[in-house]
Subunit: 318 residues, 2 copies
């Protein structure tokens, strides 16, 4: 096996082309410039083999999915992706072929989102663990957060949800399958589209935003808590995926949408005045921001005006 | 066990006090400002249980060591620590007590270095894996790198090395020992001192710098390769640790110093004109930058003017 240094040189040191990156892979640390009038938005995201993806999935797909999921946090803040760091913990028996495939998937995704790999750390580990720290630029004071949902805002989704959760049962049956040319559900799981362009458009349209990674209900509760309001979701307006409905039926497709994560669509709130613009952008209005009822047991999220059981909200990490 | 969100709220959401941090833990991403005239220096560093530290070591010491090692990269660039992200992958049976101890060690170290926790991700994993992404500020264009060692520079060390490597054999015998009030070798292992103040002073004194994490010889070769020169180390000038000499003898203490990592002292090159200043700062001159002999097998590092076998250079990650 290659030494750590040879490995980095071979697999993770491709040319970068970004005027704001002063020093990338190869020194003790990276150096970036943040232009005057901008702030740096940053997020860190870990995926663990057989927890977040099947360990035997193709390495290039593992890399694609990991980077896309991480970049989605930048979309949720309205940021423009710039750079990322990779911390890769690998079992000792990892093959060079696996690494090259992983590197190839990572590079392909990085090119698509115009984001530069500027640093990393590779370590030996009993389990494959991928941590990506991504960063992007946003104009000073303009970043979208979860804290500013306002009473009577509409609640919106950027696209269909539940597709990735529906895909997972198929993927777990044959994780090794190469889905390069597959337009079915599995592609949604491995190639989630980070909503970068929309996120930047939402800066002038939305009051609050986040990306859905743990399920609609659970993630909606995060906006509600951060903004101290109640989000009432209208189930009939949630855009479900046709293939999920076809394969699993309407009820299960809705359940995937409510509690399944991994689609990385944006959930956001916006004033009624911009509803037409958001419709034109292909977004779906799925509910409304209401005032929080004064109860001892706060209902941050309502589904069709009814309380939702905490346990059926979405993915629990522990 | 607490849910992920409760866990973050309880253990990793302490008040931050830094005017450049616009948004910390709790949203999709953090937001930082980089003041005009400064650049952001960033590094990512992973430590894996039973690879980088004993899994059964006290949790607060594990946290202390992980953060100190990561911050050391900022010292090596001459940066002033500002903020960090934590990606923590935990076995499912991790106790709340362990987490609280980890959090307490992390917070104590963060306070000491005045560095703010601004974001993170906690995941479930078969192995305990800690990834820290640290960042700091440096005046534009002033960061120390590995690439600018110059012919006839002296080679310097910020302090004794080999102490941490000498400690490791004791630590592996009783990893559970609490060494809070221990001034012996073990403290060097768990509480390495990131040379932040010195790093910033070196900006106007040194031509190149890095921190020693994988062993003096191996790390010296990184400066040599990056600067396309040869580093000739004079073994009799390497500052060895008295306790290591006492416990293991002179020869083994030297071996620890040459190939053991984990002391996180700075290795740097500087012109002869600043030798007195560096002596006054408590640094040790240990060698000289020479021109690279034209040979097919390049000797980046010499020890007492003799070539060094690659295999005896230092820690290999794979």
């Amino acid at each position: 096996m290659l030494t750590e240094f040879e490995l980095i040189k071979h697999c993770f040191n491709w040319p970068q082309n970004n005027e704001h990156i002063i020093c990338a892979v190869g020194d003790d640390a990276s150096i970036v410039q943040v232009p005057n009038g901008y702030e740096l938005v940053q997020s860190i995201d870990t995926q663990v083999a057989d927890v977040h993806f099947p360990a035997t999935a193709p390495a290039d797909l593992i890399a694609q999915r990991a980077l896309r999921c991480a970049i989605s946090d930048l979309a949720a803040m309205g940021a423009n992706p710039q750079a990322f760091h990779l911390a890769l913990s690998l079992p000792k028996d990892t093959s060079q072929q696996w690494l090259q495939s992983f590197s190839s998937g990572l590079r392909s995704c990085a090119n698509e989102y115009d984001i530069s790999l500027i640093g990393g750390d590779t370590t030996s580990s009993p389990a494959l663990v991928i941590t990506l720290q991504v960063q992007g630029l946003v104009q000073t004071g303009k970043a979208l957060t979860r804290t500013k949902a306002q009473l009577d805002d509409d609640v919106w989704l950027s696209g269909q949800i539940g597709r990735s959760a529906a895909a997972l049962s198929n993927i777990l049956k044959s994780p090794e399958a190469n889905i390069e040319n597959d337009t079915s559900l599995a592609a949604a799981y491995y190639y989630p589209q980070a909503q970068i362009a929309l996120g930047q458009q939402l800066i002038t349209l939305a009051h609050s935003a986040m990306d859905i990674s743990d399920g609609l209900l659970q993630d909606a509760s995060h906006i509600a808590k951060a903004s101290n309001c109640c989000i009432n979701i209208e189930s009939q307006h949630i855009p479900l995926n046709e293939i999920a409905i076809e394969q699993f039926g309407q009820n299960q497709a809705l359940q995937f949408a409510l509690t399944g994560g991994d689609d990385y669509q944006l959930l956001f709130t916006a004033p009624k005045s911009v509803a037409k613009k958001l419709n034109d952008l292909g977004c779906y209005r799925i509910g409304k921001v209401e005032s929080l009822k004064k109860q001892s047991n706060k209902n941050w999220v309502l589904l069709d005006s009814q309380p939702v059981q905490n346990k059926s909200m979405g993915y629990q990490h522990f």
